[in-house]
Symmetry: C2
Subunit: 293 residues, 2 copies
DNA sequence: GCGATTGCGTTCGTGAATGCAAGTGCGAGA
DNA sequence: TCTCGCACTTGCATTCACGAACGCAATCGC
């Protein structure tokens, strides 16, 4: 069974009973049909059809092939319907990936997206490594920092994440509010363990505050957030996130130079699909309306 | 889904993950694989695979195709096994056709054939019209008379059916045994209604016995047989059949000129199959050993 | 790092599969 | 019995799909 097209040809001959009818149905020439049948029978070593003046009638083997190919044809047609529909339907899996730091942004958006499209199964992938779109690991990626320029990826600007310095009310009660930048240098800071961090607010901190004032260091943003909330020191928070924590006190307002742009990245092959488009527009709407609706 | 070969190609790509691997498995060049995938995706309007440096990974649509094509592949392999086996296996239907007059000969042979090959379903077709092999209506036909010369049919000589004149014991008790052929002309005969019958013994009767001595006429051989058994007159019986009726008395021994040759006819396409060959040899053995074994 | 390996993409020339048209066989109808 | 028409068959010209070769990118291993 090395040639599925020949099976398909034999299927039509068995169904229509004549070579001409099969040729018409297949949109090929009669001679082609004959050659297919001959080749198939020669390889199988078994006659599939009785040739006579009124056309071809299937032998037992031919009838067996007819039954099998009939179900195959049905299944292929169903498959085609599903595949074609998949381009315009919003269903199946939607895989989104981002750094864990950005995940809180996505959870709300994904939840309301799922309310709008109940057939979608959402998978939010965050992990140590960057999940790569070109391997089909995700439909949409949320990236921060410099504009991604990977080939085959469609990059759209998303929002600018406003970053500000916060401390917990408990910290402020104990150490007071710094009056200006100079006063900051005497305070305690919660920041990233890696002094070579690429995020602009990290670099600002390095250049502005003596590194030994960073008294709580971690490599995990969630740990840092919890440390700030616990009163360990002053740290960066996305304003959007800080809004969810009334016990936080803003130490410094957001600065232009801290904000890192966010990018929505999709693979070019998936970008046009209705599902991805639906999610992208939904995500933008969600970000503009705010997470509190 | 106009091209099943392209689906098969996509199936291998989805299964192996690389174009090269699929090409190797299919025994074609990897450029061919790419062309198939491209054509299929273009027609469907949906990407089946994500292309990346390490190969192709299936999208949702591709995975769907993989599942469907996997079952198709399995079914085709099973089909191939069945079809190939059908050539060498003795199973399935065995359709045999003959005139009703010859059916008694076949019943015993078919029964014992079925004992030897329990997987075979036997269909013995007798009817008004001649069942024709070229339409696939039967595997084997038993024909009497002149050697059939239909094209595409394989004709083998079978046995000569010895015909003799019989009457029932009751008839003999009442009318006596005729001494010679002249004496026959005063007896009562059971014969065919049609004086133009082609069978040699019928023609002999027409030329030898006055037609008004045929006092029981019918167009059905079974009716004639029953009439002879009931004592209506003298009639022809195949010796093989007469042996089953001890109440029959042979009036005249078989004559060379009465015997009509029997022919085994098979369609050339089916003649080589193991099933047909098995039945032909079985039938010959059966006829030689006699039906009484 | 840097070559080796792997795997995809593209171009070009060839050959096999296809379409075309004439031929043949068979059965139906007059 | 003849003719007509349908359907398969066969030889030939054509096209299109295939294979070969090269290029390129990414990864792997030393």
């Amino acid at each position: 069974m090395d040639n599925w097209d020949e099976i398909r040809t034999a299927f039509q001959v068995a169904r229509r009973g004549t070579v001409s009818g099969a040729a018409e149905a297949l949109g090929v020439h009669h001679a082609t049909v004959i050659r297919h049948i001959d080749a198939l029978e020669r390889r199988l070593g078994v006659k599939l059809f009785q040739r006579h003046a009124r056309g071809y009638t299937a032998t037992e083997a031919g009838q067996d092939l007819l039954r099998v190919a009939q179900t195959t044809d049905d299944q292929f047609q169903q498959l085609e319907g599903r595949i074609r529909g998949r381009g315009s339907d919003v269903s199946g899996e939607l895989m989104v990936t981002s750094l864990v730091e950005l995940a809180p942004l996505l959870v709300g958006a994904l939840t309301s997206f799922q309310e709008a499209y109940p057939d979608v199964i959402v998978r939010l992938l965050t992990g140590e490594r960057l999940f790569r779109l070109e391997y089909g690991e995700a439909h949409v990626a949320l990236r921060a920092g410099r504009q991604p320029d990977e080939p085959d990826n469609v990059v759209q600007p998303f929002i600018h994440q406003d970053i500000a310095l916060y401390a917990s009310q408990a910290y402020v009660d104990r150490y007071g509010l710094p009056g200006d930048i100079e006063a900051l240098k005497t305070h305690r800071f919660v920041a990233h363990d890696d002094p070579d961090g690429r995020a602009p607010f990290q670099q600002w901190l390095r250049h502005t505050i003596p590194y030994d004032r960073v008294t709580f260091r971690s490599s995990d943003s969630r740990v840092m957030n919890q440390a700030v909330l616990a009163g360990a020191g002053i740290g960066f928070f996305a304003m959007r996130e800080a809004a969810a924590h009334p016990e936080l006190v803003q130490i410094m307002p957001p600065r232009e130079e801290w904000t890192s742009p966010l990018w929505l990245v999709t693979h070019v092959d998936l970008h046009r699909t209705a599902k991805v488009q639906a999610f992208l527009t939904h995500l933008k709407d969600y970000a503009n309306e705010g997470p509190c609706r």
